[in-house]
Amino acid sequence: MSGQEVFDHPDVVLCPGGPMLLRGDHVIEGPDGTRHATTRPVSAVCRCDKSAVLPWCDGTHKVLPEKLRPS
């Protein structure tokens, strides 16, 4: 019997207005079939499609007008 908290630690996190965080190792296939392997414990996948380093987020979503930011 324990009162210790169980923490939420999802594998995928959708950040409001920003990227999708992916925990762990994954290979992402881009629209042209190119494969990109993750290299860090957590990776940020672009959801606004405006990043200069797709498929990863590069912070560009922050300078987009509100309506072009991912929900």
Partner: protein, 313 residues
């Protein structure tokens, strides 16, 4: 590293005590002859807890007389920051508040200047100044780890593991910066450019050490981290493009391109997971978190203002 050169009465007294092994003269923050004097003295005292100096006995780190001087300088610095940085509370969600503060900040940008206008020499000066922090990148925040509960501790380590190369020293961020410095013909040795760093840059370093070394200020340390990460991806892209424009070597450019991608992750982790988990444990730290974020923006604006003014002359 050897001890740097003094910049006034307080730093001279501290350095004299350190080099000779004598007790420091009874000096306090009010004796400082200016920002340079105060921040150099404080920087030297904090450095005793990092890598230290070849010409100083390691035991001086915990010398009570030196700690008394340090406390006086820290108190003056903290009071000045609390006076100047008064974040206006926005909404409930701490991540939204931090991102909003960073977005609203319209201070001068060194990265924007480097992108299109800076000369090779100006960028070398900037890299030398930045090296005072980048060669100990993330270390000040590592002091916070044992002060946290499971939630914020795991969250902070998730970010720090990436800063420290995920177990591979070749990918460790302060090592990447050292490799960039070496390739660019600059001195990659830890502390090599402290004498060239203006008070504003030493203050940036000192604030991280103060927030990290005082448990009381752990909220400010993590708020500072969040604002630092949230103002890094886009400026790192501009830095990388400016360095390419000036034909800096790929190792130096690579340090910044790594930060475009890494900090797009880190800003989300720092603002949401780390500060979020900290405030779940300790809601009363919210004001300190926002203070830390505000201080980060303020001190970077002061350094940028100072250098851009110097370069415009």
């Amino acid at each position: 590293m050897l001890t740097p050169s003094p910049r006034g009465d307080v730093s001279a007294a501290v350095l004299e005590a350190l080099r000779t092994g004598a007790a420091p003269a009874a000096i306090r923050a009010s004796d400082a002859s200016g920002e340079d004097d105060l921040h150099l003295a404080l920087w030297v005292l904090f450095e005793l807890s990092y890598r230290g100096f070849e010409d100083v006995d390691e035991r001086r780190e915990w010398d009570p007389d030196l700690i008394a001087v340090r406390r006086s300088l820290e108190d003056a610095f903290e009071a000045e920051l609390r006076d100047r940085c008064t974040p206006t509370p926005v909404g409930d969600d701490v991540a939204t508040a931090i991102f909003a503060m960073c977005e609203a900040d319209d201070g001068p940008s060194l990265a924007t200047y480097v992108h299109r206008h800076a000369t090779h020499e100006q960028v070398e000066q900037l890299l030398a100044i930045r090296s005072v922090y980048h060669l100990k990148e993330q270390d000040p925040t590592a002091w916070v780890v044992p002060r946290l509960g499971a939630g914020p501790k795991a969250a902070l380590l998730e970010l720090q593991f990436d800063e420290y190369g995920n177990g591979d020293p070749n990918r460790l961020h302060h090592h990447l910066f050292a490799k960039g410095m070496e390739a660019a013909g600059l001195d990659p040795k830890y502390g090599a450019y402290v004498d060239q760093a203006p008070a504003e840059a030493l203050a940036q370093n000192n604030v991280m050490s103060m927030f990290g070394l005082q448990r009381r200020l752990r909220g400010a340390a993590l708020g500072h981290l969040a604002a630092f990460e949230a103002t890094s991806s886009l400026p790192s892209r501009r830095m990388a493009q400016g360095l390419e424009r000036l034909d800096f070597p790929p190792e130096m450019v690579g340090y910044y391109t790594e930060h475009v991608e890494a900090d797009a992750v880190h800003e989300q982790l720092a603002a949401r997971t780390i500060c979020g988990a900290l405030l779940d444990d300790d809601p009363h730290l919210r004001e300190d978190v926002l203070l830390g974020a505000s201080v980060c923006l303020d001190l970077e604006n002061r350094l940028a203002g100072r250098l851009l003014e110097e370069w415009a002359a």
